[in-house]
């Protein structure tokens, strides 16, 4: 209980600091503030999908349904974070680039991740039984793991060569204000904690449901 209140206060403090304490970046103006939300959420999305893939591979090796709970839970939560990152990034793109969507490499890669894990969740829902959905979903996760590097690193290089990299690169210069990095890191820590807390609930739920079915 106390931890949850602390997490709430931590995230609230980060949001307030983003609005009142951290400076604005000249070119970006007021849209700087989405950075404290969008960037950490996108990082947590990647973390969640990575976590899901890791546990899928572990499931295939060890056949422990606990790993499957982790894989499924992380994929579902990752989808949630992915939608939030995509929508917040899209709103920022409307403000800065003039369009909600223009197949920038970053937009492309996050959208492909979304497609893969939406298919993963749909696949799980379509398989009967207890062990079989876990096994098939883990196999699918491993196949998807092959596609991800191609989608993120190779395809944008040959296919969308006209698109510029996002403004993060120009902002990533060493002269970035340390206060901005501090708030972004603060939010990342908070949102990561939020993710693992929600994941632990999902894993516990899976364990309880299995115990009930066995009883």
């Amino acid at each position: 209980m106390i931890l949850r209140v602390l997490l709430f206060l931590w995230l609230a403090a980060g949001m307030i600091a983003g609005f009142l304490w951290a400076p604005l970046v000249p070119v970006l103006g007021a849209t700087t503030r989405v950075f404290y939300f969008h960037f950490p959420v996108a990082l947590v999305t990647t973390l969640a999908f990575g976590w899901s893939m890791l546990h899928s591979a572990l499931y295939l090796l060890r056949r422990d349904l606990g790993h499957d709970d982790h894989a499924a839970g992380a994929a579902e939560l990752g989808l949630l974070f992915c939608v939030v990152a995509t929508v917040s990034g899209s709103m920022w793109a409307k403000a800065m680039w003039g369009a909600y969507w223009n197949w920038d490499p970053r937009e492309t890669s996050i959208f492909f991740l979304f497609l893969i894990y939406a298919a993963y969740v749909a696949l799980r829902a379509a398989v009967d039984g207890e062990e079989r959905p876990a096994r098939l979903a883990a196999v699918y996760s491993c196949i998807a793991f092959v596609a991800v590097p191609f989608l993120i690193f190779v395809v944008p290089r040959i296919y969308f060569s006209l698109h510029p990299d996002p403004l993060f690169n120009t902002r990533g210069k060493p002269d970035i204000d340390p206060r901005i990095m501090l708030v972004a890191t603060w939010m990342f820590v908070g949102l990561t904690a939020l993710f693992f807390w929600l994941l632990s609930l999902r894993v516990r739920l899976g364990r309880i449901e299995r115990a009930r079915q066995d009883a």
Partner: protein, 224 residues
């Protein structure tokens, strides 16, 4: 047929022959894929008219017609085994890997037949600049190999789910997007007369990685 479980070239060849024979008996998969391709092609050609100089659009349309025609039937090889309750028998006589490789070979043949009919028809109906044959055939070949490798693997997963057909397109699309990107870009490149080495490398690498992954994963797919 050997009595034990075997993943030798002989077993793969036997599976491939068996697939071809059962397809030849009904011709259900091939005829529906060809009809699908021809109808889609007609619809596309009818609504766009001749757009001979738009190589970007032509390349995209060609591969979209091919991919969706292929998707309509490529999962069929595994689904047929599950629906006919013959999968267990098949697994008694051959290892999962040789079943998979045999079916991959069949899907590749299937795609080639589909392309031999669809691609000339597309070129006749839609037109387009003269082909650079070497590059065009290389893009077609490697694109089909990557497409078959992805579709066979996903088909094996999908065959064990409820509502197989509906899910197949959705689940295999993320795997097919790199293939589509590389093949469309390569087809457009050969029409425009620019080198397509990067696209060919992408397609070859992707097909090779998928094939390697398939060999690792097929043993996990069929256990019950």
């Amino acid at each position: 047929m050997p009595t034990g479980r075997s993943s030798s070239a002989g077993a793969i060849w036997a599976i491939l022959r068996k697939e071809c024979r059962s397809e030849w008996r009904t011709r259900y998969g091939m005829s529906s894929a060809l009809l699908f391709a021809v109808t889609t092609l007609t619809a596309v050609s009818f609504v766009t008219g001749r757009i001979v100089d738009r190589t970007d659009i032509l390349a995209a349309l060609l591969w979209i017609v091919l991919v969706f025609a292929a998707l309509a039937s490529l999962a069929h090889t595994f689904v047929r085994e599950v629906e006919g309750h013959t999968m267990t028998m098949l697994r008694l006589v051959a290892s999962p890997t040789s079943i998979a490789l045999g079916k991959l070979g069949f899907n590749l043949l299937f795609l080639m037949v589909l392309e031999v009919v669809t691609v000339p028809l597309f070129l006749v109906l839609m037109g387009g600049p003269p082909l650079h044959w070497g590059r065009f055939l290389a893009v077609m070949g490697l694109g089909s190999a990557a497409l078959a490798a992805a579709a066979t693997l996903v088909g094996a997963v999908i065959a064990q789910t409820r509502g197989r057909g509906a899910l197949f397109a959705a689940v295999s699309l993320p795997m097919l997007l790199p293939v589509l990107a590389g093949a469309v870009s390569g087809t457009r490149g050969q029409w425009n007369g620019v080198p397509v080495d990067a696209e060919l490398r992408l397609l070859a690498a992707y097909a090779a990685v998928l094939l390697g992954m398939s060999l690792l994963l097929y043993d996990h797919l069929w256990e019950d």
